[in-house]
Symmetry: C2
Subunit: 643 residues, 2 copies
Amino acid sequence: MSNTKKIESASLKNVILDGGFWAARQATNRDKTIPAIYHQMELTGRIEALEIDWKPGTPKPHHFWDSDIAKWIEAVGYSLETEPNPEFERLVDHAVDLMEKAQLPDGYYNSHYLAVEPDKRWTNLRDMHELYCAGHLMEGAVSYAAATGKSKILDILSRYADHIDAMFGPDEGKKRGYPGHPEAELALIKLYRATGDERYLNLSKYFVDERGQQPNYFDEEARRRGEDPRNYWAKDYRYTQAHVPVRDQHTATGHSVRACYLYSGIADVAYETNDQSLVNISKQIWDDLTQHQMYVTGGLGPAHTNEGFTFAYDLPNENAYAETCASIALVFWAQRMFHLDQDSRYIDVMERALYNGVMSGVSFDGETFFYANPLASYPNVNPYALWSGITSDRYYRRSEWFDCACCPPNVARLVASVGAYFYSTTSDRLYVHLYGQNKATFDYHGSHLKIEQQTNYPWDGAIEISVKVDKPTTFDLALRIPGWCRHHQVMVNGEMISAKAERGYVVISREWSKNDKVSLVLAMPVERILPNPGIRQDAGCIALQCGPVVYCLEEVDNGAELANVTLPPDAPLKAEFDADLFGGVSVISGEAMRVEPENWPGGLYQPESAVRVARKEFSFKAIPYCFWANRQPGEMRVWLREG
Amino acid sequence: MSNTKKIESASLKNVILDGGFWAARQATNRDKTIPAIYHQMELTGRIEALEIDWKPGTPKPHHFWDSDIAKWIEAVGYSLETEPNPEFERLVDHAVDLMEKAQLPDGYYNSHYLAVEPDKRWTNLRDMHELYCAGHLMEGAVSYAAATGKSKILDILSRYADHIDAMFGPDEGKKRGYPGHPEAELALIKLYRATGDERYLNLSKYFVDERGQQPNYFDEEARRRGEDPRNYWAKDYRYTQAHVPVRDQHTATGHSVRACYLYSGIADVAYETNDQSLVNISKQIWDDLTQHQMYVTGGLGPAHTNEGFTFAYDLPNENAYAETCASIALVFWAQRMFHLDQDSRYIDVMERALYNGVMSGVSFDGETFFYANPLASYPNVNPYALWSGITSDRYYRRSEWFDCACCPPNVARLVASVGAYFYSTTSDRLYVHLYGQNKATFDYHGSHLKIEQQTNYPWDGAIEISVKVDKPTTFDLALRIPGWCRHHQVMVNGEMISAKAERGYVVISREWSKNDKVSLVLAMPVERILPNPGIRQDAGCIALQCGPVVYCLEEVDNGAELANVTLPPDAPLKAEFDADLFGGVSVISGEAMRVEPENWPGGLYQPESAVRVARKEFSFKAIPYCFWANRQPGEMRVWLREG
C-alpha cells in the first residue's frame, strides 16, 4: 500500500451526519441558506443574467456573478448527495439549460462577457475573473453531475475546459496566461478526476507552473489593452501570488482567498503528478501561514486593503478582515495537505477553521452572513467612519447579501460537504479526522465497512465508534488525537489500549470482526490560550478554548466595555452544556473582574494618582465564537485581558 | 475694560524666542524647513505652475497647489517678523510677481483653474478647494505684507476677495456657495483686520451661516455639473461639516482639518460680531472634541477613511491618522476660543497639541514630515499591506514631501508664529499662556512694558519673569497654571503670594514698578496618565507625561516587542535632562518589566499551562513623543501596559 498516492477522502454520499452540531448546521444550510442564496441571486439579477440579454443602459451583469451561481449549484449538488430535493434540481436544471443555450459553439461561456463585452474575452485575466468563474462552474458541474447523474452541466463545462485548453498553454499559438484569481487550478483537477481527461490535469499543471514567470503575462496583457502595467490598481503582483514563479514562493502572500485556492491547486497538482518539489513548497507556505499568519479562529488575512496577508504575527482583532472565504479555502487546502503528508497538524488547522472562522460566517438561522470575521467588535462604530472600506455594520451584524457575494455560497457548499472531511482512506487504513455524530460506509478489500460515531462532540470529548464489517477484515483504524488534546484514552471492546499517537493518530491495527466498539475519550478542559509573544495585538491577553471551539464574550451576557474586563490567572473556569442556547452548545463561565476607575473625574485623561481604580468581580459567560452576533448587537471580544 | 471684545494675541514681532525649545525649533524652521519646502515645491512643479503655461499632455498643476505656496509665504512672513532674510523675500516677491501677472482683470486667481480648466471655475466648491486656496493666499498675503510692508500681495488678494464677494452671498444674482474645505472663513477675518474692509467680515459671516442650509448648495452644484449628488465620493456631507447648518452642529464631525478650520472661522465671526449663539455652539463642539475625541498628544481624527473624527472614545493608536494639520488647526482654534472665553482649558489643549501632536509632524532636523501621527508604530509593516491608504513607511519614517503636501508648510507657519501664542492682552491685563525663554514687549496705557522669561521650560517648571515698565503701571499679570500642574508657587520680588488660580490663571493685580521679578514654580513630576475607561484601545495602559510633554518608548532605547513591556504600578520614575539628546530634552527612566514566555514551544497559540511566563526587569528610557522617529527606525509606543 502507499500512504502518499492513493489516499483519498470519503465519498460525501457515504457519510451521513445524523445528529449533533453538523447535522443541525446542515439542516439549516439546506432549509434556509441554500434557498436564501437563490432568493438573493434572483433579487439581484444574477439568475436573469443567465438569459444573456443585457441591454446597454441597464446595470451590467458583474464579471464574477457566474461564480456565485456556480458555488450555489455546487452546494446543491453536495446537499443532494444525502438528501433529495426536487425543487433544488428544478432550479439548477433551469440554470443549466440557460447556460447550454448561451454557450458559444467554440465552448466559451461567461455570462458577463457574452452579454456585455463579447469582443473583450480573454483580454484581462488579471482582473476579470474569467478563469475563476470557469473554475467555479467546473466545481459546480462535477458536484451536481455526481449527485444527480445528470451529465449536461458536466458536458458544458468540459466543452468550456476544452476551449480554455485550446486557448492557454505553452504551445505555439496559445496565450501564456493563467488565472488572475486562482481557482481553475483546483477545479481542473476535479474535472480531470470526474472525466479522466488528462488534458485538464495538464492544463492545471501548466497554470501552476506558468504563474509569475517572466515576462509577466499580466504586464504583457495590460500593454495589449493599451495600459501601463505600472498602473495596476493593486500595485503589486504579490496581491495575486504572481510576483515570482510558484516554486520560488515560500510565504503566504497577498489576497488570502486567491492564495489558499492557489495553494490547494498546487497541492492537487503535486498529488496527481507526485511532484515532491511542489510538496515541499506547499509545506513551507503552510508552515509560514499556520505558524505566523493565522488567527486563533483559523481566520486568515488581517488586512482590508489587500483582503489578505501582511507580515508575521500581525493579527489585529477589531480590524481583522479574516474573510469567511479564506477560512473555507484553508479547509480545502488542509485536507489536500493531509493527502500529501499524513500528519494531524493539517487537520488540527482544518478543525480550528471549521468550528470557528468558517462557521462565524453564517448566522445561526442560516440567512445572514459575515464577510469579515473580526475577533473583537464595537457596535457603536459610526458607519461613516469606515466608508471607504467595507461598511462598518458588517462588523457586528451579518448581512443578507453582498455586492461581492463570494462568502454566502462558499459557506453553503462547505457545510453541505463537511461529511467528506471526516475520513480519509488508503488501501489499508481508515483515518478518522473529525468527530461528530455520523454513520459512514466504506469498502475495504471487498468487505463492506460501516462506522458509526456516537458523541456530543465538540461539546464533549467522549466518542463511541462502532466498527461494523460484514466479514472479519484487517485494516488500520487511525484515530486523530487533536492537537488541543493533552490526555486521551482509547479502548477497544472495553479494553484499554496503550497505542501512542503517530503523527497525531492513534493507529489501531487489527482484524476487525463484525461488531467492534472503540471508545475514545479526549480530555476537553477549558484551556486558556496564550498568544505567541510576537503578536503585539494580543499582548497580555488570553483566549478561551474548549476542545476545538474558541470562545468569546458578548455584551449581551457580560455588559459593555469588555476591554475593561480582566480574567484573573487563577480564576476557575467551567464549561457546561446549555441545551437551550443555539440548539445546544457548551458555555464557559467563571468569575472575571471589571477593572475600572470608580471616581473618574471626567475628561479623557487623568493622572493616575487622582483616580481610584476598582476591581469588581462578576460572573462572566463566554459563548462559542462561531455563534456570536446572533442575539442583541453589542461588543464582542475573543482575546481577554488577563490580570 | 472688557474681557470679551478687545482681547488679542501679542504681536508676533514683539515676542522674541531667544533660547530653549522654541528658539531651537524656530532656527531649524528658518534654516532648514522653509528652504526645504521651497526646494520641494520647485522639484514638484508647484513654482513653475505659477507661470500658468501648462500644456495638455503634461502633468496638471494640482487644484490645491496654491495652498502650499500660500502657507509657505505665510511662514516666510512670520519668520521675517523677527529675522530678516533677503533670499526669502526675493523668492516670495518672484511668486507674487507671477501671481500679479496671472490674476484676471475681474480679480480671479487660481493657478490650477487658470492653466487647466479656466471655463470650470466656481463649478465645484465641494471638491476643488478653490475657496480654500483663496483663503490660504489671503493668510499668506496678510502675513507677508505685515512683515515687509510690501502691499502688492495684499492688493492682489484684496482684489480676489472682492471678486469672491461679488460672486457669493445671499444677494440676488450671487451664488449661494461656501467653501467645500473651510479656510476662507478665518482668512477673510484676517483680511478684514488687515484692511478694515467690512465686506470681508460679512462674507466670512455669510459662509458660516450658509453652510449646510437646505437646499444644499453642493447638491445643486453637482446637478449643474450633470452629476447625481448621491454619488458624492465622500458619501456624506458630514465629511465637510455641511450636513446641517453650523448652528445645528454640536459635535466635532468629519474631516478633522476642515472641521477645525471651520471652527476657527466660526470663533472669529463670533468674536467680531459678538454672536453669543456662535460662542455657545463653539463651546459645545469644543467640549465634545476635547472630552471625547482627542488623543493624549492633542492629535485629532483617528480615521484614515475620512481623515477625521469617528465617535466618542474611539482612539486607535497604531492606526491613528491624527494628521499634523489637524493638531495645528486645533492650536488655531484654541487661541480663538480663549479670546471668546478666558479660561485656561483652551490653552491647556493648545499646549498639549503644540508640544506633542504638532511637533511630531516635523523631524528634529526640520527636513522631513509626518502626515499621520500614530501613537504606536511597528516598522516591519509591509508597505504592501496598506497600499490603499497612506503608504505605510510614513508610519515610522517621516517623508520629505507628499503629493498632498498640506502638512509641511502648515508646520512651518505655526513654528514661525508660535511666539504669537505666548501672550494675550486686554486693556488692563496681560495673559501669559505659554512658558519658555523669551523677551516680549507691549504697550500699556502709554507705558512700554517688557517681559522676559528665563526658564528651561518645558523641561523644568521654574520660570523667572522680569516685568520692566518705563514708569509705574497698573495692570493684571495673569499667569497660566497649566491643567497638568497640581502644585504651584508664585513669588513677586521674592515674596510668596497666595493668589489662587481663577479659571486657570493666577492674576497678580498691582502697580508694577520698573524692575519687578515674578517667580513661578510649576511642580512637574513624572505623571502616569490613565485613559478614560471608555477608550477601549488604551485599556490597562498608562501614558507618561512630564509637564506638557507626552513621552514614548522607542525600540532603539528599549528593544523590540514593546507590547510585552509592562510598567509596574509602583515603579519609581524619574525625569532627567539629557543635554546631548535632541539639543537637550528631559528623558524619563525607571525599571519596567518585560513579560514574555521563557519557554515558548513555537507556534502561534499555546495553552497557558504549557508556558512559563517570565517577568524580567529592565531599565527603560522614554523620550518626548514629538521627537520619536529621529534615530534608527523601530517600534514606538505611547500607551504602556501597566502591571
